[in-house]
Subunit: 379 residues, 2 copies
């Protein structure tokens, strides 16, 4: 490849709006803040940029950013069997899970295929699954009804708003008091902000720290957005979104993007969250125990491409990765990392060739590019 040859980012197509694709309670505030590019996630509009990707990246890395992530839709399980049902659905031992605690769980089908990787939260009287991009409500309702659990399964009125970045904790402490600093990762509190009901959780889809405010009244979305934005002025807060560059640097999994329909959680690097030696029973346990025994066929790894910064390109689909003429996997994301000064990607690669430093070739719009396997996270 010729450095600087200018593989231009493909023009973004227009998105036709429709009631079939739900807007978030924060939508009017994001539009007012200049949201200009969206994705669709869980059949909701997800704002992905406010027109200045560099500033949005810096804000996340050095300051604090406000993200509309209402598309992380919730499945709520309540009733006498709520905990038992949640356990049966989750490839993780939830015996010790206690009120106010969340856990990152793999939800798998009976063959061990990953269906979603939500945060499972145990509230005082119910359980929430804060979803990645699949209609898991259908799965949970079917399992609960056919298995005969005495539960009610619904989508509650809950809309997460993420406050992310190194200054997020200071801002959240200003709003909720200094004792929030004691909240551990994925733990949460049921609370309110000036009467706006919410759950405050230390979570968020970045490695820069922060919280998510799970708004419990969709009529108050703009009010909550404005309140946080106002309090964040002293920290230079601005609008942002789940950041594609940072998430690649941090090796964060995008379900449905980095996974394929038959990916199991070990292949998605979620092995450490899967309990196969527990006495509890859950869907897919037999299949997952077998994967644990034989080892996954592929893993998610990083790629460092022999390419200058002009060559990162938006992927509309996975691109094949080769070694010795044979396809050994595919790449699911590629970005220019400002912190590394390199073009890096995420790929799902056959276990035999995932050693760090191993050389592969990546198919690109203008030919094959050399790349080296990197451990995750990059940073």
């Amino acid at each position: 490849m010729t450095p600087g040859a200018g593989r231009v980012a493909a023009a973004m197509p227009n998105l036709v709006l429709s009631p079939r694709i739900r807007t978030s309670p924060f939508y009017p505030a994001t539009v007012a803040a200049g949201a200009s590019a969206f994705s669709v996630y869980n059949k909701m509009l997800l704002p992905l940029s406010f027109g200045d990707l560099e500033a949005e990246y810096r804000r996340l890395l050095e300051g604090v950013a406000l993200w509309d992530v209402a598309c992380e839709r919730q499945v709520e399980i309540s009733g006498p069997d709520a905990h038992a049902c949640a356990q049966y659905l989750s490839a993780r031992d939830l015996t010790e899970l206690t009120e106010g605690q969340g856990k990152y769980v793999a939800i798998c089908d009976h063959d061990g295929r990953l269906l979603n990787d939500p945060i499972l939260m145990k509230l005082s009287d119910r359980i929430w699954l804060s979803l990645a991009d699949s209609d898991l409500l259908l799965w949970v309702r079917a399992v609960a009804a056919e298995k005969g659990f005495d539960v009610d399964v619904c989508e509650p009125d809950v809309s997460p708003l993420a406050v992310q970045g190194p200054l997020a904790e200071d801002l959240i402490a200003d709003l909720f008091g200094d004792d929030i600093r004691a909240i551990r990762y994925f733990w949460f509190r049921e609370t309110d902000l000036d009467g706006i009901p919410l759950v405050l959780c230390r979570s968020g889809w970045s490695k820069q720290g922060g919280f998510e405010l799970f708004l419990r009244d969709r009529t108050r979305g703009v009010e909550l957005w404005d309140r946080v934005m106002e309090a964040g002025q002293r920290y230079g807060i601005g609008p942002g979104a789940p950041n594609h560059v940072e998430r690649v640097e941090s090796g964060l999994l995008s379900f449905g993007g980095d996974t394929e329909p038959d990916t199991n959680p070990f292949e998605a690097n979620m092995g450490k969250f899967v309990d196969v030696d527990t006495p509890v029973d859950y869907i897919g346990k037999g299949a997952l125990r077998e994967v644990a025994r034989t080892g996954p066929r592929r893993l998610m790894v990083g790629l460092t491409l022999e390419s200058d910064g002009t060559d990162a390109w938006p992927l509309s689909e996975r691109t094949p990765v080769f070694q010795s003429g044979a396809q050994v996997g595919s790449m699911s994301a590629v970005v220019h990392s400002p912190r590394l000064g390199r073009v890096i990607g995420l790929a799902q690669i056959a276990t035999a060739v995932v050693e760090e430093g191993e050389q592969v070739l990546v198919e690109t719009p203008t030919g094959r590019v050399s790349a080296a396997i990197s451990a995750l996270p990059f940073i």
Copy 2:
């Protein structure tokens, strides 16, 4: 409202591409044909316009149009219990369903809520559900596994391509022979076109007639598109897409757009496809029988608005409908109908006020507009 005051269509935002949102095998051909605006449907890109909405409408009404509807993803059920499993999932008696036949079915949950409204097709050795916009694969897999059906459930390599319009039959006869004219609505043949394997079905999401070609080899999408386009030149074929104006005129249901999470099939005007007095058992039968007995609380109806053509606007969300100061429903689509010369919409309205001619008020961006209830279809 001031006629001509110019409620301008909201600018369409940009859509960020990602491997999380799958492209269709026809995607390169649609881009080459000028696809400029997309939606996301079943986590796939759905091209919705090629830049000339008027020409696309005329082509569908008077000629023939080619639509990439690969986003109508399939769920395939095979194995010894395939028919029994399909029956248990469907709120319709499938006893008489025979090979080569399709039926429009309501898939409901145990409380009778509509989960999808697919075409169910009985092939020689398997069953396909050609989906509307929900991850029904999750529902089917969960039910099959927990209920213990001896089936395999997967998404096969199938990509529908629609040929729609009054000249579609002539074109399809040119390609497949005159005996295709005998295929009845929703019936199909397993066949091929110059060796490209496909299922040819008389179906499609318009009332203008036509066929869908269910491509069974995703590597041959562009080849199939080009072959049909070439043969269609003598009929003036051009690219198109599921047409928002025609579907409103025809009163065709858009699942997820015209339905809410708790809508039952009677409320979606699918009552005539729901069998509650059959001896066969299926999910939701008890709840649906109760709805049939008491009558649905709301129905989908047409609205004819007191508005000139400048006032049709793209809806990003449902808009409330009032009568005597109380909300009686909501409107889910609104278009200017060239054939009627009126602004018309689709709405879900309380059964008490769905008489034809009944007057209501519709909330719009610039105030409330008078509208009259109309029977469906409009045309």
